[in-house]
């Protein structure tokens, strides 16, 4: 469990950032002024559930239900939240 991110927290994609599926690239991307990051599948799975209303706990539960066979997935998801927050892709609601 991270020191910063609580299960009850709710996040949204940060202003001036856009998260979208890219057909030509076959991946999710995050777009912002002067830049873009292509996201690997796992990162995309987390960010596509970030919608300004689902809590971290709900997102974890949903991903666990979708990928029941992945071990330690919660720690990975929390790691992704930390990374995305550190990069200022997300804001806390």
């Amino acid at each position: 469990m991270s020191d910063n991110i609580q299960h009850s927290d709710v996040y949204a994609i940060a202003p001036h950032h856009r998260f979208q599926w890219e057909e030509a690239q076959q991946c999710y991307v995050i777009l912002f002024p002067e830049g873009m990051v292509k996201l690997n599948g796992g990162a995309g799975e987390v960010l596509k559930r970030v919608n300004g209303s689902a809590s971290v706990a709900e997102i974890i539960a949903d991903i666990k239900a979708t990928f029941p066979d992945v071990p330690n997935i919660e720690a990975d998801i929390m790691g992704m939240f930390e990374l995305a927050l550190g990069k200022q892709w997300l804001v806390k609601r």
Binding site: R18, E34, G42, N72
Partner: protein, 410 residues
């Protein structure tokens, strides 16, 4: 573009290993024109001495693409994978169809950026851009002083730029400032950063002048000394280290003062595609200076063919074209031999190593330029401002001596 891929996080590996991953990273061999720069017009109300636009731009002010042609180009590029759209010029606001282009860009899923001097931006237009879905506006600023702003742009635009900055902020846009750095403003770095903070800038790009187009003609007058560049970078770093500031600072290192060349455009035909006012499709802004090259035009060539198969886009893709010392260089993948245009403009050979590289047999040309930056007689030459009259003169062959004195051509 500032970042290419997310680092290998644990979650990526875990989910990828389950074969449910639908993400792939781009590879050097699977090129995609992620960045589309639309140089929508070369007309401009400013006359900046450092403009990188072609000096013969006057040839291309009467044959601009129509709105329909631009919209078709946006559609075609999007299908090839373009995401980031820069609407640039010249001054793009001199066209009255930017609103239509913005709406189409939004519809297609571009992240769109208007790159402007701010001249011509009104409440009405910015409102239309916001409603149309324009994602951000990059505003060029020149200096903290009215005197230098008006001098280097050869216009009286200082007060207007401050008003436009406030307008951009008021409409909820991220404030992205671009300041081209040269001899006349490099001593004001601290004040420029303070101005940017006061305007509420989220990002500031401190773009040290690169010498192409008009800025090459005016290189002796614009180039700062090595000591000035080092001091400017120190000030930028100190400001960045100040934790009270949320402003992101990009300091674009001036390549003349480096030991290795820049990986120009992130590689020829790798991620950037530029469509010029008249429809020429280029792998970099100044590619038309290169000899014996024919660049496809959107009016008569399929954009997919242009990107993937045209001789122009394949000419310097990868490293097969390289000569020595690049060919056997252990660092060739880092910079791909630098900039083809710079090599040609300074050495007369587009396939030579970028003369910025200390391994280049032409590095003395760069060292001479750095040395010349200390010479007050060279700096005292009059500036050739970017305007239609001077462009016509250059087309007719004037000012050639300004360029020939820089390079090793016979």
């Amino acid at each position: 573009m500032t970042q290419n891929s997310l680092g290998e996080s644990a979650v990526q590996k875990a989910v990828q290993s389950q074969q449910v991953n639908n993400g792939v990273l781009a590879s050097a061999t699977q090129t995609q024109p992620l960045w589309l720069l639309a140089e929508i017009t070369y007309r401009c109300p400013l006359h900046c001495a450092f403009c990188y636009n072609p000096t013969d731009y006057d040839k291309h002010t009467q044959n601009e693409l129509s709105t329909e042609q631009w919209i078709q180009t946006l559609r075609d590029a999007r299908r090839l994978g373009a995401i980031q759209l820069g609407i640039s010029g010249g001054e793009p606001l001199l066209r009255d169809d930017i609103e239509d282009i913005v709406i189409e860009a939004k519809k297609l899923g571009y992240y769109s950026n208007l790159i402007t001097s701010g001249v011509g931006l009104t409440e009405k237009r910015i409102q239309a851009f916001k409603e149309g879905g324009l994602d951000h506006i990059q505003l060029s600023m020149h200096d903290i002083t009215e005197e230098i702003n008006n001098f280097i742009t050869n216009t009286k635009t200082f007060e207007l730029k401050k008003k436009v900055a406030a307008m951009i902020k008021n409409h909820g846009y991220p404030m992205v400032l671009n300041v081209v750095i040269h001899r006349y403003n490099i001593g004001h770095m601290k004040e420029i950063l303070e101005m940017a903070e006061a305007l509420g800038a989220d990002y500031i790009e401190l773009a040290n002048t690169q010498y192409y187009g008009w800025s090459l003609v005016n290189r002796s007058q614009l180039m700062p000394t090595k000591e000035q560049v080092e001091e400017a970078e120190r000030i930028a770093n100190a400001h960045r280290a100040n934790t009270n500031s949320k402003m992101k600072i990009f300091f674009v290192v001036p390549d003349y003062f480096a030991e290795r060349p820049k990986k120009c455009m992130n590689g020829w035909g790798e991620v950037f595609m530029i469509v010029t006012a008249n429809g020429d499709v280029l792998p970099c802004h100044s590619a038309r200076v290169l000899p014996n090259m024919k660049f496809p035009n959107v009016k008569d060539s399929d954009l997919g063919w242009t990107w993937k198969d045209s001789p122009a886009f394949n000419q310097y893709r990868g490293d097969a074209w390289m000569k020595e010392p690049c060919r056997s260089c252990s660092e060739k993948a880092n910079d791909l031999g630098g900039c083809r245009c710079q090599s040609f403009l300074l050495t007369g050979d587009a396939e030579a190593a970028d003369p910025v590289c200390t391994k280049s047999p032409h590095r003395h040309l760069i060292d001479q330029a750095i040395e010349d930056a200390k010479n007050p007689q060279l700096q005292a030459q009059p500036i050739v401002f970017r305007n239609d009259k001077n462009s016509k003169k250059i087309i007719e062959g004037e000012f050639q001596e300004r360029l020939t004195e820089f390079h090793a051509l016979p």
